[in-house]
């Protein structure tokens, strides 16, 4: 019965993808950005759905199982504060620039902003490498969910493969429009299912308040932050959500907006939506300690599914599992599309291969590249014994470390390509260093102080960007005037008669 429900859900997802293809206009802009036609509701749902991954559903509950309610403060409320601000100050501006100059990827913008092909190439490599752990948690989440909910009848490797197959099908067929529509459907499903799972499981455990009283008696440390989280960890956790400013898949979704005002609803309701998704995940993870005590390390990744399987009837369990799979596919699809988009636009088209191949061939090579990345990630997922939460954190750390790049590009005219190079290289070196160190100690703070590596990496990359930019030649005027037209002589002269081209 559970499998039948999940199959119906998968069929619905594929149908939406297929239906969206009917509106396909046959252009690259339509395939990758739905011709920048997405309105406020779909924009909100697709942005939110893309941002919420297996990390927020399975990772959060697994981490809360070990560390308690502090996980919410550490990553959910910090995201509720920071993410909409990044959308407000960065996302809307990138949308405007993307629309004005017809960009399809963020690399196109950075390459022209600093007039450097090599910078674009470096970013292509770094962004794709950082996406791999992010893709990995999606595949692991899909495998774990299907394996657990079917009592082990579907092995994890089959689950991961199924998620790849379904996602690739509607991404390849429906492009961004299909992805945005499916994301909207899936976001509704997993938001409703999260609430439903919480109500059903709490009820089955004798009521929410009773369950919490039991935890207060058996595991009181999980209801406070205590020694699980350090104050400096809370402070530096604010750096992690900065990662949204550099996610290639969110950049693509920003560009789909019909107009800037389409962002308004997203900005206003995003913090509430985060609470709606994370509160049930965290609480169910904590409540899981009552039913499944003693899970060690990554075994807690599946706590939510175990709870669903134990407390819900078969039909409901199928629906709830579909909700979890929704959150997994929601991000995997956009990430795949972003990878395909970067390869087609930033490698095939930019380096002139498009002269030697037809539009169809370009798209074909883009799809092959996506499948190669997904296959590599899939193989990695078969051997990865890491916690979904930890993998997600490391991916976010890298993207957050690159945040100064987008801030400098948008707001600092004096920033130079040498500064951008040094900034990205600093992130790559420090990220590798801290990742290897963390592998030895299995913690995500520096020397047990509570300071997260993301804070050090982001601050260091910002400092390097500033110092190197100031010590290298200022960018040329034509490039500056393109992106900061208010500083061009005609514009400043037209208003005040005085050249005010601040650089």
């Amino acid at each position: 019965m559970i499998l039948a429900v999940i199959s119906i859900y998968v069929l619905l997802v594929l149908l939406i993808g297929v239906f969206s293809h009917k509106l396909f206009r046959g252009t690259g802009e339509d395939y990758f950005l739905a011709t920048r036609s997405i309105g406020p509701f779909v924009l909100f749902m697709s942005l939110f759905g893309t941002h919420m991954t297996a990390f927020s559903i399975l990772g959060a509950s697994g981490e809360a199982y070990h560390e308690g309610i502090g996980v919410f403060a550490l990553l959910a409320s910090s995201s509720a504060f920071v993410v909409p601000l990044v959308f407000f100050f960065v996302g809307t501006r990138l949308w405007s620039i993307g629309k004005k100059f017809g960009y399809l990827t963020q690399i196109q913008y950075f390459r022209e902003r600093w007039d450097s092909d090599a910078l674009g190439l470096l970013l292509f490599v770094v962004l794709n490498l950082l996406l791999i752990p992010y893709l990995l948690i999606g595949l692991m989440g899909g495998g774990i969910t299907l394996n657990q909910i079917t009592g082990g009848r579907i092995p994890e490797w089959v689950g991961g493969l199924l998620v790849i197959a379904v996602t690739s099908t509607y991404v390849i067929y429906g492009g961004m429009r299909g992805t945005a529509w499916v994301n909207t459907f899936q976001t509704i499903i997993f938001m409703v299912c999260g609430g439903l799972a919480f109500v059903v499981i709490s009820d089955n455990m004798g009521g929410f308040q009773n369950a919490m009283q039991s935890i207060a008696l058996e595991h009181p440390d999980l209801l406070i932050r205590g020694d699980h989280i350090r104050p400096l960890q809370m402070l530096t956790s604010m750096f992690i959500p900065l990662s949204v400013g550099m996610f290639p898949h969110l950049f693509n979704h920003w560009l789909t907006a019909k107009r800037a005002s389409a962002f308004r609803q997203t900005l206003m309701f995003y913090p509430l939506a985060i609470a709606v998704v994370w509160v049930p995940s965290v609480l169910l993870g904590v409540m899981g300690t009552l039913n499944f005590p003693g899970l060690q390390g990554p075994a807690a990744n599946s706590i939510l599914i175990r709870m669903i399987e134990m407390h819900a009837n078969k039909v409901l369990a199928g629906i709830l599992a579909a909700g979890v799979i929704s959150s997994v596919m929601n991000s995997l699809d956009s990430q795949s599309l972003a990878i395909g988009s970067m390869f087609t636009q930033d490698i095939v088209r930019h380096y002139g291969f498009h002269d030697r191949m037809s539009e169809k061939q370009q798209v074909l090579y883009g799809r092959i590249f996506v499948l190669l990345i997904l296959t590599g990630t899939y193989i990695l997922s078969l051997f990865s014994g890491r916690s979904i939460f930890r993998l997600g954190i490391w991916s976010f750390t890298g993207f957050a470390g690159l945040f100064p790049v987008v801030v400098a590009a948008l707001f600092w005219k004096r920033s130079t390509k040498a500064g951008a190079f040094a900034c990205i290289s600093t992130v790559a070196i420090l990220w590798l260093y801290f990742f290897v160190q963390a592998g030895k100690s299995e913690t995500y703070t520096i020397g047990g102080t509570g300071i997260m590596p993301v804070a050090i990496i982001t601050v260091a990359s910002a400092v390097v960007m500033i110092v190197v930019s100031l010590f290298t030649t200022a960018p040329e005027s034509p490039v500056l005037y393109k992106f900061f037209p208010e500083s061009s002589p005609e514009k400043t002269g037209a208003i005040s008669g005085i050249g005010e081209g601040r650089v």
């Binding site: 309610i69 403060a73 405007s96 406070i224 104050p231 809370m234 604010m238 800037a260 995003y270």
Partner: protein, 110 residues
């Protein structure tokens, strides 16, 4: 420093593309953050609120509070309310500090 009023009247037509010109209709959303009646202080008040909210994320005083409110741990309830406060702040920013010029820059003014 340039005074906005000085610029607006004499260069109406030209300045329109530079977002300083007089508007004949309301911008998207119906509120013009750059209009003369804009509560300039409100915008800055919101930026101060933003900083205060950033500080308030570190609720050290509830760190070891074991109190349950309707079953919800106080440390969690505080951060749920923090999400609500973040939403209110965003409503304020959207209403009073919206970057209306972006629609113009991207050639999509309504």
């Amino acid at each position: 420093m340039r005074r906005r009023q000085d610029v607006r009247a004499p260069y109406g037509a030209q300045a329109s593309s530079l977002h300083y010109g007089p508007r004949t209709s309301s911008p998207p959303g119906g509120y013009d953050a750059r209009a003369p009646s804009t509560p300039f202080a409100m915008k800055h008040l919101l930026y101060i609120a933003l900083f205060v909210l950033f500080l308030l994320h570190n609720d050290l005083w509830l760190w070891n509070d074991e109190c349950l409110v309707a079953g919800i741990p106080s440390g969690l309830l505080y951060h749920i309310l923090y999400c609500v406060a973040s939403s209110v702040l965003m409503i304020g920013l959207v209403k009073f500090a919206w970057p209306g010029h972006l629609e113009v820059e991207s050639g999509d003014e309504e």
